[in-house]
Structures are given as C-alpha cells and as structure tokens.
Symmetry: C2
Subunit: 271 residues, 2 copies
C-alpha cells in the first residue's frame, strides 16, 4: 500500500487505529479454545467485528510461532483472510526481525513475497545492511524500532552519545538516509508521552506506529497532541484492550464496541 492510499484510508474512515492480533490461546473465550482452528477462528471474528473502525491489523508473530507449524498456519490463514476480504486494510507483520544482508533478504521474501503483508517491524541494532533488503519492494514498508513502549526502552535507546544525542534519535536520523517517508515508519511507544515532541523534530513527516495505549497505559490524547501531522502521521495500535475486552461468547461484539470507542475519539481528533 502506498503512503497516499494509507492517508486516504485514514481520512475516509476517520480512524488511524490498528488492531493488534496478539492472539493468546489462554485468553480467548472458552467456547473457542477447544476448536481445531481456534486461533484463526478467533481472529476471523475479531476482524469481521472491528474492520469498520480500524485501518490496520498487526498480527504479532511470537503469538503464532509459539504453536509451531500449527501457529504458523493460523498466521498465514489470517493474512489470506484479510487480503481477500479486507484488501484496503494495512497489514503489519510484527516480527521485529533484523539480520545480516543475505538473511534479511530471506525475511523480505518471507514477508513481502506473499500477497497481503504491507509492512514488517524491524530492529535496528545491526545497521544499514540488515534493513536495506527489506526496502527493495515497492509499496512495502519497514517499520523500524525507535523508542519502544516498554520499561527496557530506557536501557539502551536513551543512551546519549558525546554530543548528547540519544541512540533512538541517531537511529531515526540515520535510517532516514536509507529510505523516504513512503517506505519507512518508526515504532514509538505511546508510553513515551512528551517525547513525541522530540520525535517530530527528528522525523516531521514520517508515519509512526504507536503501540502502548490500552493495556500498557499510554494516552491517545498526549500522543496526538505532539505526534499528529497534517497527513495524520500516526497508526495507533491497541491489542489486549480490544481483543480481550470480553471473555464470553459476546467477545466479538465487545471488541467492536471498544474499537468503535477509540475510532470515535480519533474522528474527533482528526476533526
């Protein structure tokens, strides 16, 4: 999906919500848990219920890999279902990959040479040649970790160099020499609050994927106050607060309700 198409989706749906498909077999409703294809069935119901209110879905690979081949099949089935039924939604494989060039090229094939996936999250630690092979596919995006939502983000991402520049800033400035705002986004956690002011100085036009509202405690208002641009420039993810809003047979309807609430806030913000 191109940047222009993404922006059009956001403004026509008045939403920049991404629903995170972190599907944990132990958290899905009892009645689904025993089914042969429980993970996919849960995802399908969540997708059908929330599609009107979001512009993106983000399955997190870890939640599928932990079931081995069976989990991987559920992941592929989910992507296929989305691609076929909701082709205008932006699909992010939350994988946080990153390796030497010839290996990253394999990850690029894994994610971008199958129809449906628009973007993959990537860890920056190994530098340019670990990211570049993922930037060679037209209309496909790298979403690079910059300043993450977790406590451990303070361990290394905020380390400052001799000139006082924190690592996350160096990552963002360097990565912007590898690709433009039509192929490169950054992950910035909603829990970072006012840091969004700094982020927008460093990357005024880049789209940001923002996890951390909902279960992790970040605030949508604060993120938007500092992070919003004229093109929106934000994709805000919520996983647990939406998909596990209810643990009964009513789970999909409640997920829709939660997604709708967030979408209404977003519509107001987009004005």
């Amino acid at each position: 999906m191109t940047r222009q198409e993404l922006i059009e989706q956001i403004f026509s749906k008045k939403s920049f919500l991404c629903v995170g498909l972190d599907t944990d077999i132990n958290k899905i409703p009892e009645h689904l848990r025993q089914r042969e294809n429980a993970i996919f069935e849960f995802n399908k119901a969540i997708i059908d219920a929330t599609a009107p209110y979001c512009v993106a879905y983000k399955p997190n690979l870890a939640f599928y890999e932990c079931f081995g081949v069976k989990g991987y099949m559920a992941f592929e089935q989910t992507i296929e279902y989305l691609h076929k039924n909701y082709p205008k939604h932006f699909i992010i494989a939350d994988a946080k990959r990153g390796d030497i060039g010839n290996t990253s090229a394999m990850y690029a094939r894994a994610f971008f040479e199958r129809p449906g996936i628009d973007a993959v999250t990537v860890a920056p630690y190994m530098g340019e040649d670990s990211v570049k092979p993922l930037l060679t596919y037209e209309g496909k995006w790298v979403i690079l970790l910059a300043l993450t939502s977790n406590k451990g983000s303070h361990d290394f991402q905020l380390t400052t160099d001799a000139e006082g520049t924190p690592l996350f800033e160096r990552v963002m400035r360097t990565a912007q020499t590898w690709a433009g705002t039509d192929q490169l986004m950054f992950v910035v956690g909603a829990t970072q609050g006012r840091m969004f002011e700094d982020i927008r100085r460093i990357a005024p036009e880049s789209f940001l994927l923002v996890p951390g509202i909902g279960a992790q405690g970040g605030s949508l208002e604060e993120v938007c106050k500092y992070g919003l641009t004229k093109d929106c420039g934000l994709i805000v993810n919520s996983s647990r607060a939406i998909i596990y809003a209810d643990g009964t047979e009513n789970f999909a309807a409640r997920a829709a309700e939660e997604a709708h609430k967030v979408q209404q806030q977003m519509a107001e913000i987009l004005g």
Copy 2:
C-alpha cells in the same frame, strides 16, 4: 545443556565448531531441489556428514520462514532429527528475536518449550524486559547480539557515549547483570578481529558465538588469539563455506571434509 556439559563436549571432540544450517533452496544440489522435502533432506545429509567434527548446529530461522508453513515444518523436522540422533550437540535457533515482556515470553515458549533447542539469539535494542523471559528456563541460553559481523555493525554498535563507552560494551556490561555465564552468551563477529581483546576485558568468561569465518572473511587464528579462554569460551560458526562447499551429489562428503579441516585447526588451537 549446561555450561559444564558444553565444555566437556568441546574438549572431548577437540572442536568448537558450529555448523550453520542456512539452507537456501537455490543453493542446494540440483538432484535434491525437486524433492518434496528438499530442505530437510539436505540438512539431514549435512548433519550426518559433519556431526563428528562439530559441537553445535545453528539453523537460521529466516531461511525456513521464507517458505512459510512448509519451511517451518522443515525447521521443526531438523530440530527433531538432531534431538533424537545427536542429543549431545548444542542447538541454536538463530532467530534474533526481542520484544516487550509478554511477547518475549511467547518466543521463549516457541523455542524453549519444545525439546531440542538449547539457545536462541536475541537482539538487545528493547532492553531488560525483552530478554528476561528467555532467561527463566534452566539449561537454556540467550545469545545476545553484541558486536555483529556485518558492515552495519558500525552504524550503531560502535557509537560511544559521553564517557567513550561504545554501545556494544554497554549492552554486554548491562546484560551481565541480568544473567551469569551459565545462561548468557554474546554474538561477536569474527570479522571484528582485534576487537576480541576488548571483548575479553568486558566479558572474560562468557561464551561467545562467533559467526563470520569462511564466506564473510573472518580469521579463526585471530579470533582465538584474543578470544580463547581456559574453558575455550568460543563457539565458532561456519555456514556457507561448509554446507555449500560442493554443489553436486558429492556435497555431503565435501561438507564433511571442510568441517574436518576446521576441526583439525581447532584441535591444534585447543592443543
């Protein structure tokens, strides 16, 4: 596998070689390529041929993921085959994962709750809570990226802070407060040459996983000159130079030869 068991394997086999199973369907011999289960059949032949000369195997997940479910099945089959037939070999899932706590816990399940896998490579960018869930399994190891073998390692890993400490050193010092030398290793590329002197000042006893000899151009002698400890302290990986030594039906015998050559050098070094 415990540290003591690993050291015993190394000294009894006079080898600290790890064979990297970066199995690329386009590089395996023609006669295998058309087979239903080509990747596993190639791995099986390489494993049977090289097992006497190495102490570890390291399948790189990217090479399996790029074939989706089929590739993931070949990965699992390879792990099962190793676990059943070569239970004394140390098995590293080269995955370079790392995510927020609840997600890393899922990766821990993906890799450590199946029999066979002893260690997983992890990227440090997201800090403590992204690594810790992988450190809760007895006899299982985290191999944290420190100073990698690729050109991009210079982009961020060598950035120095106000006191002149490079990022990789900060990563290594910080991580050593999370776990001891019986659960934590570091990735240091063979291409980093004399940097091993610094590495040994920072982590005198830690095992290092060293990629980058062979196709990437690193030197075994130089790595050992600075990196070897009384417990050996090194697992040196070679992938392409061994597994693709020959592209004909003779590939396994040639792989054995190449592995044997490296093992003989290692025996001399351990002398």
